[in-house]
Symmetry: C2
Subunit: 222 residues, 2 copies
């Protein structure tokens, strides 16, 4: 390669990651509206054609950021689910693994204030869809080991994930932050009843695991 080459050629997946990282960072510092495609090009140091090879628009970048978070959360939750652990702490640990990172929560807040609620909703739904089969697997392990009792594992998980994803999201129920402790306790109680655990089994196990309060930002993703 001649020493005069100004642009370094990188693998496509690495470029894609760089663009997403730069866009995410600009979106939460400068704001989604205020960030132009040019700002992203400058930050990454690439030509317009390279960006448009990967993404068709700013909305396409937002959608990809949401999908990336869902994939991250899903992989993290699956890793926990694959580890050897009794079902009750595993259930809580999977929920905790689904927690959004601070930068993802910041992006979710920015999505809301700029009227991009469709991406916030996409993020909540993506998390519900990704976590449902993983948690159903944990519940089936729990049924086999005798700590859970339910004839409707999938329906129960969908209800708990949907209710938690919405009710604990302060970007959805705006101005109801003070309701979070009450709603969290209600969800733990509901999960115990619906999963047929011993009364208080999940609440007690939470003292050991970074637990259901992790659901609070689970969709915060982006």
């Amino acid at each position: 390669m001649p020493p005069t080459a100004k642009r370094v050629s990188k693998p496509a997946s690495q470029r894609r990651t760089e663009i997403l990282d730069a866009a995410h960072s600009l979106f939460i510092t400068k704001g989604i509206q205020a960030t132009s495609v040019e700002d992203i090009l400058t930050e990454v140091g690439i030509a317009k054609g390279t960006l448009y090879y990967h993404f068709s628009s700013k909305d396409d970048i937002l959608r990809s950021l949401v999908e990336r978070t869902t994939a991250r959360v899903s992989a993290q939750a699956q890793a926990v689910a694959d580890s050897p652990m009794p079902a009750i702490p595993k259930f809580l640990a999977v929920m905790a693994a689904a927690r959004a990172e601070d930068s993802e929560i910041a992006l979710a807040a920015e999505l809301h204030t700029t009227g991009h609620d469709e991406f916030h909703l996409m993020s909540i739904l993506g998390t519900i869809r990704a976590l449902t089969p993983i948690l159903v697997g944990v519940v089936e392990e729990g049924i086999a080991e005798g700590s859970f009792t339910t004839d409707h594992p999938r329906e129960v998980i969908e209800i708990i994930l949907t209710a938690a994803g919405m009710l604990l999201d302060t970007g959805i129920f705006i101005g109801e932050e003070d309701q979070i402790p009450r709603r969290t306790a209600g969800l733990i109680h509901a999960a115990e009843v619906l999963l047929g655990t011993q009364p208080g089994a999940l609440a007690q196990a939470m003292e050991g695991v970074e637990g259901i309060e992790g659901m609070q930002g689970m969709e915060g993703s982006a």
Copy 2:
């Protein structure tokens, strides 16, 4: 009044209703994007100033349509709750009263296809907020009469309403229409367990009342 008066002066609330009716009708026939403020003026037969006296923008009209539906659903549900009826059929009848009308479901679909998901979400949250106190009242009646048993009426109602509002909305879980019967059965089961009814009590009562399947379009509103 001189016979040459071209514009009839009407009470403000009546004008407001006429504008909302015309806008709703145009939005679902012509489409939200394709409907201009001028189209609404022509339909109602008013001057621009009259419309802007009531609404600041097309988005303001959309927001008002959502609020109108929530108010209608809430009043209808409250009327059912105020009627003398045992708690189990009353619970189902309140849920059924919360069902959206066809024109409201059509507007919800149009909101989604035009990227106005924030109004769809606003509609779901408005319905949850409006129905929670009404259904908590019904649950308290049920506890008093011995048909329900729960220490967490409010939390349980929030969970059921949120899960039903999302999981049964085919404008939210797009492409999952075939999951509705399974999810409806799961929600009925969950409501029985969480409200502490006799097993099958809600499912059996549904045969007499236009019941929980009414939840399907409950948020469809606008």
